[in-house]
Structure formats: structure tokens, C-alpha cells
């Protein structure tokens, strides 16, 4: 990579390093794996930089990060038996409209645990929307699925998250 191109590349990707790491960290649930996958995504992005036609660097970089991270999840799953909720593919459970219940402010550890217990695709959509603040369109571009799928995942993710948090608020003595 020439010096000039490299500068452009760094300007495109490095401002979004926190966003990239945050996504990889939520998906892998492991700080070392998150660093590894972001680094691999960074190198892959450098190789493909010529095909980047400008525009939204964040969405472009995040889409590479999530691809590398899902490869990592897939590989790890083939190495060890994972629990059911680790399904990496969409369960077509399109249960119309979820019912929402009231949730009080939760402590951070509770939210973290509840979110980590969601399946990767639902963790991903919640992380991108609620933590990273991406629009539906941006999420659709990052995850390479139609907007309708983004909305149905978001709906399921929120509903499951809410059920877990509600259960912890009922069960917990604090």
C-alpha cells in the first residue's frame, strides 16, 4: 500500500475503531478474540480498500468486522459443542408482535449478562442499534440483509432482552 493510499485507508477505518471493537467484543464476548478479529478485519479491509468507493467508512469497515467475527464464531462452534442459543442462523420465529413489559433501570452487570445471553444475531442487532446507534438502513448494509429482517431481529432481540431483565427484576432480592 502506498503512503498516500495508506493515509486514506487509515482515515477511513481508524476513526471507527471503537465501533469495530465494540461490535467484535459483543459478538465474541472475549477481549482477546475481539482484538484478533478486528485486526484480521483491518488487514482484510486494507486488501480490499481499492474496491471501496468512498462513502460511509463506518458501515464498510463494520461489515468486514462482522464477517470476520461470524467466521470466528462458526469455527469455534465446529470445535466445541455449543449450547442451543448459540445458533448463528436465523430461526424463522416471526412471532408477530412481541408484548412489552415495564422495565426499571437495571444495573450494568445485569444488562451485560442479559445481552450476552442473546444469540449472536440478536446481540449484533441490539449492539448496532442501541449501543452504536446505527439506523435500520445502516444495519441492513452492515449485516447484508433486507430492512425487514433487521426489524424482525430487533423486535425479537428487544423482546427477549426485556423478558430476561424483567425476570431478573422479579427474581432478584435487590
Amino acid at each position: 500500500m502506498e503512503a498516500d493510499e495508506r493515509r486514506q485507508f487509515e482515515l477511513t477505518t481508524l476513526p471507527h475503531l471503537d465501533a469495530a471493537y465494540n461490535l467484535a467484543r459483543w459478538l465474541t464476548r472475549d477481549e482477546h478474540a475481539a482484538e484478533d478479529t478486528v485486526q484480521e478485519a483491518y488487514c482484510r479491509a486494507a486488501r480490499y480498500f481499492k474496491s471501496f468507493r468512498g462513502g460511509d467508512g463506518r458501515v464498510w469497515f463494520l461489515s468486514i468486522v462482522r464477517r470476520v467475527t461470524f467466521d470466528w464464531l462458526e469455527k469455534r462452534r465446529s470445535q466445541e459443542a455449543l449450547p442451543f442459543n448459540e445458533d448463528l442462523h436465523d430461526q424463522s420465529d416471526e412471532s408477530a408482535n412481541p408484548e412489552f413489559v415495564a422495565i426499571r433501570k437495571c444495573d450494568e452487570a445485569t444488562v451485560r449478562q442479559a445481552l450476552e445471553e442473546l444469540s449472536p444475531l440478536l446481540r449484533e442487532v441490539i449492539a448496532l442499534r442501541e449501543i452504536e446507534g446505527l439506523s435500520y438502513q445502516e444495519i441492513a448494509t452492515v449485516t447484508q440483509v433486507p430492512m425487514g429482517t433487521v426489524m424482525s431481529r430487533l423486535s425479537r432481540g428487544r423482546s427477549q432482552l426485556q423478558q430476561r431483565l424483567a425476570a431478573s427484576q422479579e427474581g432478584g432480592s435487590a
Partner: protein, 262 residues
Amino acid sequence: MNCEEAVSLLQPYTDGELDLVRHLQIEQHLQRCAACAEQEQHLRSLRVAIASPSLRYQAPESLRARLQAALPSETATPIVVRKRSMPAFQLATMAAGVLLLVGMSATMGMLLSHPSSLMDERLADAVFADHVRSIQVDHLTDVVSSDRHTVKPWFQGKLDFAPDVPDLSEHGYTMSGGRLDYLVDRPVAALVYLRRLHAINVFIRPAANEETKAVRSLTRQGFHIRQWQQSGMAYWAISDLNDEELDEFVRLFRAALPQATL
């Protein structure tokens, strides 16, 4: 609109993803229908419950160093660093920002004769470069304070104007501090707010004229920019927050400014 339709659109509604027509239809429905309004409240309660800034992980410094080493390096541009010394890997990224900025100012002279929209585009480039530099060299703020009564006086004597410093903390936009910066070649006040660890830079300097200009939206590489002119001052707000939240921020910010000449 019936309840089934309303409920199916509740999430895009609270996410600010609906077109204006349907947004208003839902709003009307929620005013009339207690059941759906309750669902809306419950949905919003989830967002409040999980709105903790510490849920956003930040890339460790070790990762930045690794990335720098991961690509073969051919560039060794020496850079003069301002203030505290910075690790080499940050210099390279800063160099990118600075070079962009220098390129901008070189063309500023001839741009002055161009239509104002082109001028705005060029200023947006400079705003983007400033923002990126400020978040990458860990130099967001010269004065660190969540109190506007500390930040506002800090600018006194450093600039030939006194920027207003709205307190928006009750809306979830925490003041992080302020710093002096340069937009192209003119000094600006930079106010820094945080939303879930997303930094918002607001650049302020006197406007070229007194006229009020409506808010314009621009984007640069995934960063959203809002630009407007109000009471003789020109404002640029930039962040990687989503459009909806940045719009809310700008609305609150504008409302909190003195309304005298509006």
C-alpha cells in the same frame, strides 16, 4: 390506524425510522389509545434501562499498536506534536487528519469566491478533520468539566467572542469540556458533549453575517454533521451518533441558546 398496525410500527416509531405521515398517524393513535400508549412506554423503558455508557467497549491502546504494526510501514513522515508526547502509532493517524486540514486551508483563498454551498462542503471537510483528530489523539478537551459554569469562563480572553455553553445533561448529553481549535485557519471554540461514549464536537465562531440559517445536514465517512447560523454565530455539530439523536441534540442545543435575535 388500528391497534394491530400501530403496535407493529411502535419500534420504528420510537426509533425515529418512520416517514412523517405514518409518524403522525401513530402519534394520533397513541393519544387516543391507552393500551398502545402503555406498550410504547414499556418499549421506551427498555431503552432507558439499558442506556449505560459503559456498555460500549472502547478499543484498547494495545489494539491500535497492533494495527499499526500489522500493515507494512513505508511512511515515516515526521510530525510536530502539540502538547504531550504521543505514541508513534497515533502520530500516523493524526498526520492523515493534519494533512487533510493543510490541504483545505491552501484552497480556502480561492474558495471564498465560490458559492456558499461549496464553501460549506469544504468547511465540513475541515470539521470532519478536526473531529477525527480530537478523538484520535486523546485531546478532546483543554478544560475538563461537566459544569458549564467552569467551561464558559475558560474561553474568556482566549477568543474574541464568548460562546454560549448550554447544559443538556438532563437530556442525556453530558458536558465533557471544551477546547480551543482551529477551523481552517480561524480560531473556534469547541464544546464537547458525550452520549453513551459517543463524542459530539460543537464548533462555534462568529458568522460572517447576521442572517439566521436553517440547519443543514452533511455527512463525512459515517460521521454526521449539522451546520447552522443563529444570533450572529455559526455552529457545526459533528458526531458518529445516529441522525435521530444528533438532530435531537441540535434541537435542544438551539433551544438552549439565548433567543434574543431569533
